[in-house]
Point group: C2
């Protein structure tokens, strides 16, 4: 052990290594606060060469390595064990290049998402990834977990925003694929392997990101709907009118909506009556007036077709913010509830039936209680929250079993955007076949034969 530490010191310098009480506890766990543990050491790499040197050493010694970014994960994917060495990318931060012709940005893995968003904006572009942790999360972690967030319906997942990657493999090999081209069919698209593999196949050190033209107009409406199938019909009708300009379709079930309203400043629903479902819809485009006309026409058509029971069209940015405030009540959950949260996905046509059956299951099991459903349904993503305060004695494990067993019957996915990490490992076989899992292990074995990279994450 002293061997490897002295070699590590030679590779990265004394000051780049923290051990024992000198380790900041932020490295012990992620935003889940699950199973905090003090690792053997934290190494702050400052270059790809240093990451390579550290991995080469650890691989030679069979020493487990846990890559860490901003520690904002929600599945435990970056939580270390007490015998692990953490490689933190936080000191490898910065934007190396913006190429306006290619519409790309080359960044170091430790760059915070918000820094990237702002730099894109300054250059007249936008970066399509956005999520609540934007100020703390790092792009390397976003890529390693294939982060989703609030713009997926318009911009896709992180995977869709990455053109090139530089990755260090377990044995210290530097795989440089800093591609800037949209079309490039030269053999296997290796970067795809590392995106979403949660640090188990390599350590991401650099990325070429795809930028989009900056959208300048925004329309927002809150719509009341009679049932789920009509909501899906409305979603597709919006797309037939607005194409890729549909930037949000947030569907809220009544208990979620009513809690959301109760947490706004004036606690007043925009609607006189209660409705079975509410959709917050948004269009982001490039021409304020023409977009407003197209948006208005789409809503009018839906109203005339009888798909909408009611609708409120925001007339200003502050009115739009007031509508979003209802949906963003999720930010208050940790303070107001004892939230047991689920991030799942299903084929879009099945989300309504699943939500209904899940609600009935909860009711039958627990009687009166508070559970909340909302979904980015255009992305096939449903979030379910059970307020543990309203179900005496309930455990996260018990609700997991209920939700994931039902989900399995529906052919859904146990992780839409958060990943598997440690926390969903047990349920991965609910969504992937034995053959798929065996194939994943073959890949893992091929790239990390000593199993040093983020051991225990994704699979045992």
């Amino acid at each position: 052990m002293s061997d490897i530490f002295s070699a590590l010191r030679d590779a990265v310098g004394e000051q780049a290594i923290r051990t024992g009480a000198a380790i900041n506890p932020k490295h012990f766990t992620d935003w889940t606060r699950h199973a905090p543990a003090q690792p053997l050491a934290v190494v702050f790499a400052r270059s790809t060469e240093q990451v390579a040197a550290v991995l080469r050493l650890c691989n030679a010694h069979g020493q487990p390595v846990v890559p860490q970014g901003g520690m904002t994960g929600l599945a435990g994917g970056a939580i270390p064990g007490t015998a692990d060495i953490v490689v933190s990318l936080e000191q490898m931060a910065g934007i190396e290049e913006i190429d306006p012709a290619a519409a790309t940005m080359t960044v170091l893995a430790g760059t915070p998402l918000q820094v990237i968003q702002e730099a894109a904006r300054e250059a007249g572009f936008e970066f399509g990834l956005d999520l609540g942790a934007r100020g703390s999360c790092q792009i390397g972690g976003n890529i390693a977990t294939n982060a989703g967030g609030t713009r997926v319906i318009q911009s896709g997942m992180t995977r869709d925003l990455v053109l090139g990657l530089e990755v260090v493999l377990a044995d210290g090999t530097v795989l440089s694929s800093l591609n800037k081209m949209i079309k490039n069919n030269t053999g296997y698209d290796l970067k795809q392997l590392f995106i979403g593999s949660e640090g188990t196949l390599g350590v991401i050190t650099r990325a070429v990101l795809r930028l989009q033209p900056q959208r300048t107009s925004c329309q927002t409406a809150l719509c009341a709907l009679p049932d789920y199938d009509t909501a899906v019909r409305f979603l597709h009708q919006l797309r037939r009118h607005l194409g890729g300009d549909v930037s949000a379709f947030e569907l809220m079930w009544p208990s979620f909506f009513e809690l959301g309203v109760s947490l706004t400043r004036d606690r007043k629903s925009p609607f006189a009556e209660r409705h079975p479902l509410y959709a917050l819809v948004e269009q982001r485009g490039f021409a304020e007036q023409a977009d407003a006309e197209r948006f208005g026409a789409a809503l009018s058509e839906a109203l005339e077709a009888g798909w909408l029971s009611d609708a409120v069209l925001a007339q200003s940015g502050s009115e739009a913010n007031a509508l979003w405030a209802i949906r963003e009540c999720t930010a208050e959950f940790p303070q107001r509830l004892a939230p047991i949260n689920f991030d799942i996905s299903l084929p879009i046509g099945k989300i309504g039936a699943f939500a209904d059956e899940c609600q009935r299951l909860f009711d039958a099991q627990w009687g009166p209680h508070l559970s909340l459903f909302f979904g980015h349904i255009g992305d096939s993503n449903l979030h379910v929250t059970v307020d543990g305060n309203t179900v005496p004695g309930v455990t996260h494990e018990a609700v997991d079993q209920l939700v994931y067993s039902l989900l399995r019957r529906y052919g859904g996915s146990v992780s839409a955007e958060h990943g598997i990490g440690l926390l969903k490992r047990e349920f991965l076989p609910y969504s992937r076949t034995a053959e798929e899992l065996a194939c994943m292990r073959r890949i893992k074995q091929a790239l990390d034969p000593n199993g040093i990279l983020n051991p225990g994450k994704l699979f045992e």
Copy 2:
């Protein structure tokens, strides 16, 4: 050998196997007509189970297998050797499901692209892949080669249009990942491995395709430009006005444009003068009138800014077709020229300089000759054609060396959309590092340890 044939007959039936003179010569080579060879046998699989049985047998016997689709490839990726067994997917054709809520279509691998396009249209959607071979190519081959085509700027590559895959591995394992969800972060995204791997890692048997809302409006213009940098500025300006509705940006250099004009019916350029560059631009959207206004506004702004030297806006479908006819002169190349074609890509900002230097290199080497440049530059894709008839004694190999050596210096890709197959294998190291190639081999070794799948394609 007789062993394996009798086992194959048991697995798929006598009638599903052709040998010797009974093999249709269409199985000998692809659209390149390169190195035709009569394989040992062609097996027409009619189910995933049959493909699995065939691969299991061949794997056990170390028997090389070449998967074949519509044989429209342009890199030799499906050409058999005389000791190979071909597995043809052509009898596994058909659309199994259209899910309108999920906006997906589930198809068998042997389904021709055009059948898919038409079925999507009938269901009120469109499938974003289109290419000249649409009537003959099969979706399995499109996926295996990550086909590009004419709509990439709007819809992405085939990779972006695939949500799920069913694949048979070399050992006969059926990997069923028929995912319909946009967000699904449950472990490695295995389908990405097979997309674009040219049949070297598995045989694709089924796919879940992503459909898009049907676009109903189309605007077209031909623009004359003073130089390449202005063309890039114009491209980005169009995107800032029209976002994802930009559906074509086809840049033509003068010799290409002039040949194109000379092959149209009236042989008359739409412009009074010659110009350094010509861009055929197209917008496809959802609202004829509003789209026409946005398109017109974008063109006016570009004219006022002095970026366009001239522009012709098509006033009807037939006028648009007449403009496209110039660009589509490529269809006449095989009859009119002795074309030596290149399908390459470069970072968008470098395409202009590359094209100029390539032209100078050709001129210096050969003196007066005909070479043609045009590019889907929004996709970073450049096509170069040398008319061998105008360069006495020139060989494809000699031009390959010239073009790819220059391209290597520019950091470009030797295959934008056609793949590597047999024909570009020698040049793959020009675009990928030794570390990337070694990593590809590790993956190949992990999934096909006996090397039976499409041996010799991509790498030796």
